[in-house]
């Protein structure tokens, strides 16, 4: 085993081809290890943030709000209230005497100023400690202002991102079922777990429209409160991402009987399969939908494939490392890299489950390293050992890759380029190409050294 791995973390790392697969995951982060993980609040914020006509008030000291100010490229076609950062900015006296009054006053002030369609109030760590009754403040403000004011129980220390997703889903569930559902087509669905980064949800909605399907609610990219209120009128929930909105789908199934299917919009197969699965669901009602879906896929592919081939010529044989938030993304990325002729040699996630990792292990090549909740030291050791040409991760991983002279692709919530859908695959290829093929690596110290087993930088 790699010496960069703390002993207590040995069972959170696995190498394909070395013994039985077993992986410990979903543990609390280890004290003193620099985890790439965030908190419950972060999880809730990520999920609810793109709802563009809601007020998002962070109840707590300033940091938690200011670090999430407009941090993601979740686009809106209309209101942009979500791009502002609102906080109660608790001060010492609030911590001592309680923050309820301040919360009520802040809510009142902000609701009057912005007339949002709903307000979400996020509890941060401190609020969990000082014991504010956020629920009752919200109830009161809701009655006073005539809009839903919804508490999100996202005290940071009460777990990790995953608990935050659940809290966000619970919060949204208070809206679902409260709206008027007349006029919704029988061929209709909600898109769950897509955040419209760089306009991605618009791409997906475009495909669905061509298939003849109405989208009722975007959950939550380019999201609107009223759409979420009538989401129970849709015939189907299509859930992307294993973590973030699955709870909502499960709750809606239980309460409203809305069936759901899983989908992924990253990479060619997954995108096409997702559309076919949706067509399959509706084909009894509208037999023509299958042919229309085939047309969409054929159209898109005939445009995409020749262009992709250009990039593949250069990228064939290069080696990639993936470290992302949810494991679902890793599956799609492995396949996407294969289309570019590339090999994934390291893959990991912050919040994968046992099943996620088993599935990863089953599609990964021998020799691939799989890690759960990793840290910079570990990641850098594996990058080096595996001779990686490109690292795919979030903004916190970028400097590690660059410091070692390795290419990088931002595949996280902050990306500014659409990577979903068929056209997203092309963007992805361009992204990968623009970093792997750059001439700058030859000036870095890694170049010319015998980098482990990789195809990585070498003198030619």
């Amino acid at each position: 085993m790699n010496s960069a791995v703390l002993e207590e973390r040995q069972d959170q790392v696995h190498r394909i081809g070395e013994g039985e697969f077993a992986m410990a995951c979903n543990r609390d982060s280890l004290a003193g290890a620099v985890s790439q993980r965030a908190c419950v609040f972060c999880g809730s914020r990520v999920v609810l943030y793109p709802i563009a006509d809601a007020l998002h008030l962070v109840h707590g000291p300033i940091g938690c709000a200011v670090y999430t100010w407009d941090i993601r490229g979740a686009l809106s076609s209309g209101p942009e209230l979500h791009r502002m950062s609102f906080s109660t900015d608790l001060q010492e006296k609030d911590v001592i005497f309680g923050g309820e009054k301040k919360l009520a006053a802040a809510l009142s002030e902000l609701i009057d100023r912005h007339s949002p369609k709903a307000a979400f109030v996020y509890s941060t760590c401190i609020v969990g400690l000082i014991g504010d009754d956020v629920e009752s403040v919200c109830r009161k403000m809701s009655a006073e202002k005539g809009i839903p004011v919804i508490p999100v129980q996202s005290e940071g220390f009460k777990g990790n991102k995953r608990e935050g997703y659940a809290a966000a889903c619970k919060a949204m569930m208070r809206l679902v079922g409260t709206g008027d559902i007349s006029g919704i087509s029988p061929l209709s669905l909600n898109i769950l777990g897509d955040f419209n980064l760089a306009g991605e949800i618009w791409i997906i909605r475009g495909y669905l429209e061509r298939m003849g399907i109405q989208t009722v609610a975007n959950v939550t990219g380019d999201g609107r409160v009223n759409d979420i209120c009538r989401a129970h009128g849709a015939a189907l929930n299509v859930v992307q991402c294993s973590g973030s909105t699955m709870d909502l789908a499960l709750m809606m199934k239980e309460q409203f009987g809305t069936p759901f299917i899983r989908a992924s919009y990253l990479g060619i197969e997954d995108m096409a399969e997702s559309l076919y699965a949706i067509a399959e669901f509706f084909k009894d009602q509208d037999p023509g939908i299958v042919a229309r879906t085939q047309d969409v896929v054929r159209d898109e592919l005939s445009r995409l494939m020749p262009e992709l081939g250009q990039y593949r010529k250069d990228l064939e044989g290069k080696r990639a490392a993936i470290y992302v938030g949810g494991a679902f993304k890793a599956f799609s990325l492995i396949k996407a890299f294969r289309h570019l002729g590339m090999k994934v040699v390291l893959v990991g996630s912050q919040t994968g489950t046992q099943e996620d990792y088993e599935e990863l292990a089953s599609i990964a090549d021998p020799g691939t390293v799989i890690v759960d909740d990793s840290n910079p030291l570990e990641l850098s050791a594996f990058i080096k050992e595996q001779g990686v040409d490109i690292f795919v991760g979030g903004v916190k991983e970028r400097p590690i890759a660059y410091k070692l002279g390795v290419g990088f692709c931002d595949h996280n919530h902050e990306r500014k380029r659409a990577l979903e859908g068929f056209e997203g695959m092309l963007n992805f290829a361009q992204e990968v190409h623009s970093t792997v093929m750059s001439p700058v690596w030859r000036f870095t110290p890694r170049w010319g050294k015998n980098v482990a087993q990789g195809s990585g930088p070498r003198e030619e």
Partner: protein, 451 residues
């Protein structure tokens, strides 16, 4: 002092206290910044810092969960320290508390004492503890407190006089630190600057990842501060606050010079004057030339910017320096705003503008961007000077934003922005004038080729 009229905070113009402390701890050699609190805070701050510096920024965390929040974070803190020792081989660990641990009332000094006793058989790092709850203070306070605590904890023995000068700047860029060092060297002054981010957050590309980046103020140099002949603190609000310089003055009677951040002509002159006294040397010719070129440029450029109305915002000491500089070049700072409060901000703004501005510059503290925007509406600014978070407002008002300070998240090279010294003033003058010219040219249908 004017302040905000609202209860809620919208788009804050400050960051939280432990972020400042973590940044400052990053400027000590072989030091790992360590947040005692829950995991989320550390992760958010790392992300925020990395987006500016584009460098690795590890911040360890005691990663408290629900149990520890109830029963106390001591065991996690100890365990975290051991892990940091093992993985990083740190010589110094800078422990900053967070809102969580301050609220549950963890007694960090006693926990650390216990830790030192419990593991006395191990080669322990120096552990510094800074109390940094965000519900009182901002990142500027965190920075200052981290350095005060460092000196308080590490400079305990009187060493022999060594003729050095201790320098304690408020938050400045990596490039600023490099330039300051050059200035001291050119005067022949041996200086220990704390903290020193010049290499730790702006280092070369590597073959092997270093758990802790090279650079930073060495522990030995910090310990030797008791033998210095003087301390210079750079930042006008520091004079009235508990600082590292004050600890050294109280404990070792080291004379303490309180200056502003050397931004612009007059504040740099003030620094040079002290350096002349300390070194017994005249201003080196190279600097004289820089100063001369700067004044020459002020003359060449004055008309482009005369009377332009500027809104300036950010940390207190930076804003004071910028306002001083802008007043010198003929720009009219109409609003000086900061998210911090309770310091001598208004008085300092008044002091640097009194004899040069025709009308006083409005100074406001404890404000957010909503307050700034509201005031700016009536002030009709021509430009904004501050960090990148003012961008959406500059865009809305269609005025140029000259990006300075921290953070700069939407441009390249924030860590290499030079603000201090005559050279820094020269760079900023060029940038301010070019921002105005750029706007003139863009707005003008004729498209003048000479401006």
């Amino acid at each position: 002092m004017e302040s905000s009229n609202y209860v809620s905070t919208t788009n804050a113009c400050k960051l939280c206290t432990p972020l400042g402390a973590s940044l400052a701890f990053r400027g000590i050699e072989d030091c790992v910044p360590f947040l005692h609190g829950s995991q989320g805070c550390a992760t958010y701050m790392r992300r925020y810092i990395i987006s500016h510096f584009r460098e690795p920024m590890d911040i360890a965390s005691s990663a408290l969960g629900e149990k520890q929040a109830v029963f106390g974070g001591g065991p996690n803190l100890k365990k975290g320290l051991l892990n940091v020792m093992k993985k990083y081989g740190a010589k110094v660990v800078g422990v900053a508390t967070t809102c969580l641990t301050e609220t549950i009332g963890d007694d960090v000094p006693s926990i650390l004492d216990e830790f030192r006793k419990e593991f006395a058989d191990l080669p322990l790092p120096a552990i510094v503890h800074a109390a940094t709850p965000s519900y009182s203070g901002t990142h500027a306070d965190g920075w200052r407190e981290a350095m005060r605590a460092t000196v308080d904890a590490l400079v305990v023995d009187q060493v022999e006089a060594n003729g050095t000068v201790n320098i304690f700047p408020s938050l400045i860029s990596c490039e600023d630190t490099r330039h300051l060092k050059d200035i001291f060297t050119s005067y022949g002054v041996k200086a220990t600057i704390l903290p020193d981010l010049s290499e730790t957050l702006d280092g070369p590309v590597l073959e092997d990842y270093r758990p802790i980046p090279s650079g930073g103020t060495p522990l030995s140099a910090i310990r030797a501060m008791s033998g210095a002949r003087a301390s210079i603190e750079l930042g006008r609000t520091l004079a009235g606050l508990p600082t590292a310089g004050r600890v050294l003055a109280d404990r070792f009677a080291i004379p303490r010079h309180s200056l502003g951040l050397p931004i612009g002509l007059r504040e740099t002159d003030a620094l040079c004057k002290v350096l002349e006294e300390l070194s017994g040397r005249e201003m080196p010719r190279e600097m004289q030339l820089e100063r001369g070129r700067l004044v020459d440029a002020l003359v060449d450029g004055h008309k482009y910017i005369f009377g332009k109305r500027a809104v300036v915002y950010g940390e207190e000491d930076l804003v004071i320096g910028l306002v001083s500089f802008l007043s010198e070049i003929g720009v009219r700072p109409v609003l000086a705003a900061t998210g911090g409060k309770g310091k001598a901000f208004g008085r300092a703004i008044e002091a640097v503008t009194r004899d040069i501005l025709p009308e006083p510059c409005r100074a406001v503290e404890g404000v957010d961007f909503h307050d700034i925007a509201e005031q700016a509406q009536e002030l009709a600014p021509d430009l904004m000077v501050g960090h990148s978070k003012g961008y959406s407002y500059a865009k809305e008002w269609n005025v140029p934003l000259v990006r300075v300070g921290f953070p700069i998240h939407d441009r390249f090279g924030g860590q290499r922005t030079l603000h201090v010294g005559y050279r820094g003033a020269q760079t900023m003058l060029d940038r301010v004038i070019n921002a105005v010219l750029d706007k003139t040219q863009t707005d003008n249908p004729i498209g003048y080729g000479y401006l």
